[in-house]
Each structure stands twice: as C-alpha cells, then as structure tokens.
Symmetry: C2
Subunit: 315 residues, 2 copies
C-alpha cells in the first residue's frame, strides 16, 4: 500500500510501464487488485468502448488495427484488449498478421494488451472489463475489446461495450446460422470483411435476411462491406460507430447501457467474493473427503453441497 499512490499518479498520466503493471495485477487477481480498481474507478467513464467480435479467421485483428490507426489520425489515444486465442495480438496467428500489427504496436499512443481466454482461474469477462477500466483511467479515449465471438464469456465481453461490431466473412455460413443464437443479440452492426471474395453478396443478403426477422428497435443494425487488409471500408466503419454513439447519447440509451453494465459488474464482484470466502481451506478439505462417499454412492453431490452450505452459514 505504501507505494500505491505513486503508481496511481503514473497510471493516471498514462505511463506505459505503470499501466502494464496495473493490468497484470488485475489479470492475476493479486491482492492489491481491488484496492487499485477502487481508487481508479472515479477516473473512469470517459473512454468510448468498442467491442469487435466474430468467428476465428474473420479478420477482427486487422480491422482492430486499422480502426486504431484511424483514431490515431484523429488524435485520440487507443487501448486494445485482445481476448482471442486466434488474434495476432495474442500471439496466436501467422507471421503476416504480426507484421501488419507492427505499425500500431510501436505507436506510443496505442496500448495493446492480450489476455488469455483459457487456463485462467475464471472471471475472464470481469478481468477484461477491469483492464479496460485501467486504460480508461489512463486517459485512452477509445478502447477496443477484440474477442472471438462464439463463447459465452467472449460474447459477454464484447457485449459490455458501448458499440459492438460483429465481423463475418463470406465463408461464415455456419457462423451466420449460429448468429441467430448469439452474435445477433449483441451486434450494433455487422461488417462483412474480405468482401472482395466470392460469395460476399450472398453473405450480405443472408445477414440482412436474418436481421429482417429481428424485432424492430430504435436502432436497427446494418451490414457494411470491408476489405480490412487494404483498408477499404474502415472509414465507413468508424463513421457508423460515430453515428451509433451519437444515437446512444441523444436517446439516453448510453446511460441505460452503462447502468446495466454497472449492475452486472456488481453482481460479478459479489459472486467472486462469495466464491473466495466460501472455499476456505477447511471447506476444501471437507469437499475432498466427501467426494469419496459420492463415488461409493453413499452420498450424492446434492447432499454434500447442502452440508457445505450449512457449514458456511453456521460460522
């Protein structure tokens, strides 16, 4: 705690080392994470958060880096959080993609952080949002959260943005099917990337067809075509994000969205705290002992859960 005020100052001034360290504290769930986030919280809320999601191979990282370049030209600071095992930002992709990222990676106005989507101790969506808070407090005006859009927690992350963009490619036929069940609900608009490939027009029509069945709302998602590798369509994507932002601000929908996000956030914090409180060494040992009884069919998981909860409540 002694050195915490110094670090805080540095984080708020956007110092890269301090920001990187702060995100590590958050990601590893270290003891100081909550103290840090609590102190930073009052300095958040100024950044605009953009979620970019879609199936593997749709070109999300290329769009992300092109968009980052666009915002840099407008003089805005950009933070990128990549929660995507296939993202070049996460080291998961081919050399060509990596080279393409080099330009923005060396720009001091851009901060990129990749977060593991598996093997972590859980709470990934909470941690990704907390990392975005650090970047927000550090003064980044635009925060892009890139996730692979098939899993629930990845959808949660992208869905926690102010504007969520779903990226598809002409080959995404099956993903378009899957969309009905997931991506559809969170998309503020769609980008059909690699639009120079065969099947682009049919893919756009398929998406529009599905959109047609969506309940009418005050904002209706559209489909934009892009070829991110050449930069084609990026200005249009940025314009649509601007338009969506203006709509959210004017209609009061941004407030509603952020209110929901706060409630969700509090719920996540409660779950995490209860989980840690509950699994004391004593109850962990009880669990280990009771598993054997369940294996022998002498007890059931339901009996053991009840016993553990009674023990927790009787403290």
């Amino acid at each position: 705690m002694g050195r915490s005020p110094v670090a805080m100052e540095k984080i708020l001034s956007g110092d890269r080392v301090a920001v990187a360290r702060a995100i590590s504290v958050v990601e590893n769930g270290e003891g100081g994470a909550r103290v840090l986030l609590r102190s930073l919280f009052s300095r958040t809320g100024r950044a605009y958060r953009i979620g970019i999601t879609g199936p593997p191979g749709a070109g999300k990282s290329t769009i992300t880096s092109r968009l980052a370049g666009h915002y840099r030209e407008r003089g805005l600071g950009v933070g990128i959080i990549a929660v995507d095992p296939t993202s070049p930002f996460s080291g998961g992709a081919l050399l060509g993609d990596r080279v393409r990222m080099a330009e923005i990676e060396t720009d001091p106005g851009v901060f990129i952080r990749s977060m593991a989507s598996r093997g972590s101790l859980g709470g990934l969506s909470r941690k990704a949002v907390e990392a975005a808070d650090v970047l927000d407090a550090a003064g980044k005006e635009i925060i892009i959260m890139e996730t692979v859009g098939v899993g629930q927690s990845e959808l949660d992350i992208a869905g926690a943005a102010d504007t969520t963009v779903v990226v598809l490619v002409p080959e995404s036929g099956d993903s378009i099917q899957a969309m009905k069940a997931g991506l559809m609900e969170i998309a503020d608009f769609f980008v059909l990337n690699k639009a120079d490939r065969a099947g682009a027009e049919q893919a756009v029509m398929s998406i529009q067809m599905i959109l047609h069945f969506r309940d009418p709302a005050d904002w209706n998602p559209t489909v934009l075509k892009a070829t991110a590798s050449t930069g084609a369509g990026i200005t249009e994507i940025a314009a649509l994000i601007d338009g969506h932002r203006a709509h959210l601000e004017a209609s009061g929908a941004l407030e509603v969205k952020r209110r929901k996000r706060i409630a969700q956030r509090i719920g996540d914090l409660v779950s995490e705290t209860l989980r840690v409180d509950f699994w004391s060494p004593e109850r962990k040992a009880m669990l280990a002992a009771r598993v054997e009884a369940v294996m022998q069919m002498v007890s059931s998981p339901y009996d053991v859960a009840d016993e553990l909860i009674d023990h927790f409540k009787s403290r």
Copy 2:
C-alpha cells in the same frame, strides 16, 4: 411431491414422456429439479459418456447420429444431448441434415434432447450434465454430448465426458490455431471429417504437428479420418472410443476423471445455491438503488459489492 414417486419409477424404466418431462424440469430449473436429481443420483454412473465437439460446420451431428446408429446395432440404448446452436438436433441447420437425422430420431432406443446454449439463465454446463444424469438413470448405456467447441461452457460440457472427440474439417485452419488454446486440452482424439475434401492430408499433418508438442502422457491422442456423410470411418471412431474406455478402466484414470467431475459438480451446486440465496428481493432492491450512486460517481461497484456482502453476512 405427491406424484413424484410414480414419475421416478417411469423415468427409471426409460419411459420417454417421463424422461422428457424430467429433463425439462432440470432445464427450466424448476423447484422440483433438485429433489428429482437427488433421488435419481444413486441410479447413475452406469452410462458411458462421450463428448463430441468442434467448430461449426465440422459435421458433429452427422458423426453423432452415425455413432448412435452404430451403438444401436450393438444393442445399446443411446441418449443424445445437443448443446449447439448449429446442430440439426437443435433445429439450427439445413433441411438436408434434418433428413439425415430422421432415422435415429424415430428409433425408440434413442433419446435426443437439445438444450439452448444462450438466453438461458446460466448454469448451462451444470444443466447439461444433469440432463445426462437423467438419461443415465433411465438406462441409456451410451450418452453423447454434442457441443460447438469454441466457448468455455461448451468446452466444459464436452470435457465432462469420459471420452472427448474433437471433430475438425480440412477448412478448420483457424480453428486448429485456436485449438492450441482450448480444444487441445480436452481432446482424447481428433476426427478429421470430410476427409474426401482437398487439404485433408495437410490438415491431418497440422493436427499431428500440434499434438507433437503436447506433453507426453499415458494416453496420446491420435487423428482419425472420416467422411461421416457416407459413414466412412465411423466403425474406426467407435473402436477408438472402446480402446480409450478400456485404457481408462484398466489404468484407474476413469475413477480419477469421475472423482474430478463430482468435485466440479458439487462446486457448481454450491455456486448456484449461494447465488439464489444472495439475490433476495431485498438485496435486489438495494442493488437497483445503488447503481444510480455509481453512475453519479458517488460510489463504486466495489463499495456496493462490499455493502451487499456485509448485509448478506449480517443476517
């Protein structure tokens, strides 16, 4: 509760209507779910559970239905749980796939149930495993859990099986990349489906290359080629599942796996119970009131979470 013993009898005898109703109770999380599952539990543990997962469009459902046909020929009862928005079992796919499913769907020795992977109130992986318990208690010797293998909870479901098969196609290049981060950890073996397509050999080599970097273990996953639409490779898949099962039983690894599954199961029950206990109408109202203070930056999500937890503990 009055009619519950009657239903129990019927479930255990495999009555389709009773089994379907029991799974609905589980899926909707109705009040009687826990009572039901607790009573059924001592009759579970006889079924062998197979997880089938992979990216959308890999042909998981075709493999599932062919495998089901194979087991039926061996005189075994089969239960199928499809947690996959792109699965024909879930109504998410094209007419052709649906037609292909018709044969097993009308076989009284096969019970198929699809579960929504989104829009549910959470706890999907728990509910899918509970549905498998119902089928297990109802006497199905083989239970196949089909999930789309990109999301964490879908991986959890497939990973909760005794044998987990990851299905890929020659076009799964990007998914093979993603695999390193997820599918790889849960696969007992791989099936390269649609092996009559171009690029099949390269895909097999890519998978083998990645497998080569895996830590050596007492069971080393291999890659099988199949063309499920014609039935080619299905006998080999079933033989490899048999071989894996024999290995697990002989080495004691099956017990270890099931012990882990029970511990996981108890943990899930505890989380669910705590969540329900915590979010009483009173604390829900507190949350709603405090969100406004956070919006005004007068409070933070961390302060509110602490306050709610103190309230919970002081009861």
